[in-house]
C-alpha cells in the first residue's frame, strides 16, 4: 500500500482515479436502478483501493449530499416527498450521524494497526463488520421477497405497522402526504437508526426505506422520495461532521460524481425496461456479493489488529480477492442492466409499426 498524504488521503495515480470513476459509474447505475444510494458498492470499493474506511465513508456521504439534492427535487415535483416526516426523522438522524462519526473517528485515531501498513485497522474492521451484518440481512430479505412463491397476493407486510398503530404511543402525528399516523417515539427511534447507519457505512437508505414501509406503513414511492429528501440533510450533516474531523477527500467525491451522475441515468432507464422482480433479484445478488467481498477482507484487519496470526504477505491476496469480487459483483450487475438498456435503446432507435387490426366490414345487403 502506498504512503498516505497527511496520514489520511491516498496519492491519486491515473489508474486509481479511473478506478474511482468506474466505482462511481457502477454505484450510480446500481443506485438509479435500485433506488438506493449505491454506497454499498462505492464505500468498500474505495477501501479496496487503500482509502481508509473512515475517509471512504466521509467522502461518500459528501458525494451523497449533492446527489440527493438533485434527486429529491425530482421526487418532490412528483409529490413523493413527505417533508414533515423527513424533518421529524432528521431530528434524531442528526444525532445518529454524530454518534457514528464520533465512533468511526475515535477508532481511526486509536490506530491499532501495528502490524499493517494502513492506518485505522480498528475503524476498517468495525465499518466492515457493520457493513457485512446489516447488508447480509438486507440482501437476504430482498432475495426472499423476490423468490417468494405467493407473488400474486403478496406485498409489504403491515403486521408491524398495525401492531404499533394499535399501541397508540402518544403523541401520534399525522403525515398528510404519506397519509399515515405514527407515534413520535417510533419516528425518533427509526431516525436515530437511519442516521447511525448512514454515518457508519453510508447506507442509511437500506434501513430508512424499509422502516418507513414496514414500520410506518408509508406507500413505497413516498418512502423512497422521503428518504432521498432526508438523505440530502443527512448527507450535508454527515459531510460537515466528517469534514470537521478532516476525513473528507474531496478528490474522491469529485471523481465519484463523474461516474455516478452518468450512471444514475443509465440505471433509471433500466428500471423502465426491466421487470420489477428482475430488479429485486439483481439487487439482492449484487449486495450479497459486495458483502462477501467485504467479508474476505476481515481476516486482514484482524491480523493487523493482532487478533489473527497470518503472514502479512497474504494481505495483498485478501485485498486483491476482495477487490476482484467487488468488481465482479458490480460489473455483472451493471452488465445485466446495460445489456437490457442498450437492447432497448437500439430497439427504440428503430421505427416500429403500430399493431393494427381492422375488422372486415360487411359489403353485401341485409
Amino acid at each position: 500500500m502506498p504512503e498516505l498524504i497527511f496520514d489520511h488521503f491516498i496519492p491519486l495515480t491515473l489508474d486509481a482515479a479511473l478506478q474511482v470513476i468506474f466505482l462511481g459509474f457502477i454505484g450510480g447505475t446500481l443506485s438509479g436502478f435500485i433506488g438506493s444510494g449505491g454506497a454499498f458498492f462505492m464505500t468498500p470499493g474505495m477501501m479496496n483501493l487503500g482509502v481508509p474506511g473512515v475517509v471512504a465513508v466521509g467522502s461518500n456521504i459528501t458525494h451523497k449530499f449533492g446527489k440527493a439534492m438533485i434527486g429529491s427535487k425530482a421526487h418532490s415535483v412528483m409529490g413523493h416527498v413527505d417533508k414533515k416526516l423527513g424533518i421529524y426523522m432528521l431530528l434524531t438522524a442528526a444525532l445518529g450521524i454524530r454518534l457514528a462519526v464520533w465512533i468511526n473517528s475515535s477508532l481511526f485515531k486509536s490506530g491499532g494497526d501495528g502490524n499493517g501498513e494502513v492506518g485505522g485497522a480498528a475503524a476498517n474492521l468495525y465499518i466492515s463488520l457493520v457493513f457485512v451484518c446489516i447488508l447480509s440481512i438486507v440482501a437476504l430479505s430482498i432475495l426472499r421477497d423476490a423468490y417468494r412463491k405467493d407473488k400474486r397476493e403478496g406485498g409489504p407486510s403491515t403486521r408491524i405497522a398495525d401492531y404499533l398503530g394499535r399501541l397508540k404511543l402518544y403523541p401520534v402525528i399525522h403525515f398528510s402526504v404519506a397519509d399515515v399516523s405514527i407515534s413520535l417515539w417510533i419516528i425518533l427511534i427509526v431516525g436515530l437508526a437511519t442516521g447511525f447507519l448512514a454515518g457508519t457505512i453510508g447506507v442509511g437508505g437500506f434501513i430508512g426505506v424499509p422502516a418507513m414501509i414496514y414500520i410506518f406503513g408509508v406507500p413505497t414511492a413516498v418512502a423512497a422520495g422521503t428518504e432521498l429528501y432526508l438523505a440530502m440533510f443527512m448527507g450535508a450533516w454527515g459531510a460537515v461532521n466528517y469534514a470537521f474531523e478532516g476525513m473528507v477527500d474531496i478528490r474522491l467525491t469529485m471523481l465519484l460524481y463523474i461516474g455516478s451522475l452518468v450512471g444514475i441515468h443509465v440505471g433509471v432507464y433500466g428500471t423502465k425496461i426491466v421487470k420489477e422482480i428482475y430488479i429485486r433479484q439483481v439487487t439482492g445478488f449484487v449486495i450479497l456479493l459486495c458483502v462477501a467481498s467485504r467479508g474476505i477482507a476481515l481476516p486482514m484487519y484482524l491480523r493487523q489488529l493482532g487478533y489473527l496470526d497470518i503472514d502479512p504477505s497474504f494481505d495483498p491476496y485478501f485485498n486483491g480477492v476482495s477487490k476482484i469480487m467487488l468488481f465482479v459483483a458490480g460489473i455483472s450487475g451493471v452488465g445485466l442492466i446495460l445489456i437490457n438498456v442498450f437492447r432497448a435503446y437500439r430497439q427504440r432507435m428503430q421505427i416500429r409499426e403500430t399493431l393494427s387490426f381492422r375488422r372486415e366490414e360487411p359489403t353485401g345487403g341485409p
Binding site: L12, G66, E153, G155, Y269
Partner: protein, 514 residues
C-alpha cells in the same frame, strides 16, 4: 336513455329513496351490493381491494390491476343495464364512472348523524356506541375509496347535482321531487352524450376482455374507444404480451379497428387545425420517440358566434353546451358506411378538409408507432377538461394554434387561459407548440448551456487535480480555519454536483439517451 346515480352514507335512507324513485319512474334499480356480488362471481377480489383502500401500503401491482378490473367491470355493468332500461344506481361513486357525461343526474343523500345512528341501530341491531363507530368507519372507507379510485373527496358538493337532506324530507316526497328534476332536459341523454356513453362502454368492455384473459391480465394498458376504433397503449416491457390484444378484442362487440401502441406515457396535443407537414408534428414525434409516448390528438374548435373563452359557450358547462347545441355535433349512429377510421364524423362539410389533415396527421403517428387516439371536440375549455380521458397518465400537453378566428391579442390571451386551465386541472406540464423545441429538444440554447457547464467542470477539475496538495491542505486546516474549509466544502459540493449533473444530462440528451 337516462341514468340517475344516488350516493349516500349509512343510515341516510338512500337505498329506500333509490328503490322508491325507480318504482315511480319505472326505471331499473341497481344496487352496489348487486354489483359487488356479480364482480365476486367473476372472480374479482372485492374484499382485498377494499382492504387495500384502507391500507394503501398493501397496494401491490396485482391489487392495482384488480382495482382497474373492478372499475372497468362496474362501468360495463352500469352501462349495459342502462342500455336495457333507464337506470337508478345506488352506491358510493357510480356517478364518477361515467366521466364526460353530464346528463347523468347525480344525487347525494345526507342526514343528521343522530338519525343515521338510530337507523343503523335499528337495521343492524347494534348499541348506540357501536352504531356510531360503524358509521365513522364506513365513512372513512368511502373517503379512501373515492380518493384511491378517482382522487376526489366523495363529500365534495360540486360532484353532485342535487343534495337531499332526509331529515326534513320524507323519502316519498324526495322521490317525487327527483322525478320532476329527472324530467329536465339537462338530464336527458343528448346524441353527444350518447356517443360519449358508447365510447365509454366500448372501452370498458375491451378493458374487461383484457382483464378476463389470463394472458393479458397483467398488461398495464390504457384503452380508448372512439366510434368503434379502439386504441390500446401498453408498456414497452410488456411488448411480448401485446400480440394477444387484437385476438382478444376482436371478440368484443362493436369493435371495428384496433390500434395497439407501445408507450410509457401519453402526450395530448390540442389544436384547432392540424397540418401533417408542420414542424411541430416532427418535434412531437421526436419527443414521443424519446419518451416512448403515445400521442393523443384533440382537434378543438369554437362554434360560430362564440364569446368569452369559447364564444357563445364561454359561461356554459359542457352539459349546457351539449343541451343547447345538439346541432353542434352532427351525430350519427356508428355504422360501417360512415366509418372514418377513428375520426369523428360529426363536422359539417366546410371543415372536411380539416378532417382530412387530421386524418393524415394521425396516419403519420400510426406509421411511426405513436398513435394514442384522436378526438374532435367543439365546446369550451371546460368541455375539453370534461372530455379528457380520465384513466390516462399524461406527461405533457401541447397546445398548438387555436382560437384562429380571433385577433392576435385575443388569441394569445385565450390560449394562455387555456394553458393555465389545463395545467391546473391535469397537474402536468402544458406547453405551447412554439416552446416545445426549446424546452424538450436539444437546440442551440441547450448546446450553449452544455458548452458553458462542461467548460466550467473541466476548469474546476483541472485546477483541483493539478493542485491536489493545496486542496487537501485546505481540507486539513486547523482551529478556526476548519470552519472555513467546511463552509467551502458545503458550497463546492452542490456546485459541482449541479454543474456536472446538468452537463451529464445534456450530454445524454444530445445522444438521445433519456
Amino acid at each position: 336513455m337516462q341514468i340517475i346515480c344516488i350516493s349516500t352514507g349509512s343510515g341516510s335512507k338512500g337505498q329506500e329513496l333509490a328503490q322508491n324513485l325507480a318504482k315511480k319512474l319505472d326505471f331499473d334499480c341497481l344496487d352496489r351490493q348487486d354489483l359487488m356480488e356479480e364482480a365476486t362471481r367473476k372472480g374479482i377480489p372485492i374484499g382485498k381491494i377494499e382492504m387495500a383502500m384502507i391500507k394503501p401500503h398493501t397496494f401491490i401491482d396485482r391489487m392495482a390491476l384488480e382495482k382497474e378490473h373492478y372499475k372497468a367491470f362496474a362501468t360495463t355493468m352500469i352501462c349495459e343495464r342502462a342500455l336495457q332500461k333507464n337506470l337508478v344506481y345506488h352506491g358510493r361513486t357510480g356517478h364518477l364512472l361515467l366521466p364526460g357525461i353530464d346528463n347523468v343526474l347525480r344525487v347525494r343523500v345526507v342526514a343528521n348523524l343522530d338519525n343515521r345512528i338510530d337507523a343503523v341501530m335499528e337495521r343492524l341491531g347494534l348499541t348506540r356506541e357501536k352504531a356510531r363507530d360503524y358509521i365513522v368507519q364506513v365513512e372513512e372507507d368511502r373517503r379512501r375509496w373515492a380518493r384511491s379510485f378517482y382522487n376526489v373527496r366523495w363529500d365534495e358538493s360540486l360532484l353532485y347535482d342535487v343534495i337531499l337532506n332526509t331529515d326534513h324530507l320524507y323519502v316519498e316526497n324526495a322521490a317525487t321531487a327527483l322525478c320532476s328534476i329527472a324530467e329536465l332536459p339537462e338530464f336527458k341523454f343528448t346524441p353527444a352524450a350518447s356517443k360519449i356513453f358508447e365510447n365509454i362502454l366500448l372501452s370498458s368492455r375491451c378493458r374487461v376482455a383484457l382483464f378476463d384473459d389470463e394472458r393479458t391480465f397483467s398488461l398495464q394498458t390504457t384503452v380508448r374507444a372512439d366510434n368503434g376504433v379502439v386504441s390500446v397503449t401498453y408498456l414497452p416491457r410488456q411488448e411480448k404480451l401485446s400480440k394477444y390484444i387484437p385476438g382478444i378484442l376482436q371478440g368484443v362487440p362493436d369493435v371495428k379497428e384496433i390500434l395497439c401502441t407501445m408507450a410509457q406515457t401519453s402526450i395530448m396535443w390540442v389544436q384547432e387545425k392540424f397540418d401533417p407537414d408542420t414542424e411541430v408534428l416532427d418535434d412531437i414525434i421526436e419527443i414521443a420517440r424519446k419518451w416512448e409516448a403515445a400521442v393523443e390528438l384533440v382537434q378543438m374548435s369554437p362554434g360560430e358566434g362564440a364569446a368569452g373563452v369559447f364564444p357563445g359557450f364561454g359561461d356554459m358547462t359542457h352539459r349546457e353546451v351539449a343541451a343547447a347545441g345538439e346541432a353542434i355535433p352532427k351525430e350519427s349512429a356508428p355504422g360501417a358506411e360512415d366509418y372514418t377510421g377513428g375520426i369523428e364524423d360529426d363536422v359539417d362539410e366546410s371543415t372536411s378538409h380539416q378532417d382530412e389533415d387530421l386524418k393524415k396527421t394521425y396516419d403519420k403517428l400510426i406509421s411511426t408507432g405513436h398513435a394514442g387516439g384522436c378526438h374532435v371536440l367543439k365546446g369550451s375549455t371546460r368541455a375539453l377538461l370534461h372530455s379528457v380521458f380520465q384513466g390516462v397518465q399524461y406527461s405533457l400537453v401541447v397546445v398548438g394554434n387555436i382560437f384562429l378566428s380571433k385577433g392576435h391579442a385575443a388569441q394569445t390571451r385565450l390560449t394562455n387561459e387555456l394553458v393555465g386551465s389545463l395545467a391546473d386541472q391535469l397537474k402536468v406540464p402544458v406547453v405551447l407548440a412554439g416552446e416545445l423545441k426549446r424546452q424538450y429538444l436539444f437546440g442551440t440554447k441547450q448546446l450553449i448551456q452544455l458548452i458553458v457547464y462542461l467548460s466550467a467542470v473541466i476548469v474546476i477539475y483541472y485546477l483541483a487535480f493539478t493542485n491536489q496538495i493545496y486542496v487537501l491542505q485546505v481540507l486539513r486546516l486547523e482551529g478556526g480555519w476548519r470552519f472555513l474549509s467546511v463552509g467551502l466544502l458545503l458550497l463546492f459540493v452542490p456546485l459541482i454536483s449541479l454543474l456536472w449533473g446538468t452537463a451529464a444530462r445534456l450530454l445524454l440528451k444530445l445522444v438521445r439517451f433519456e
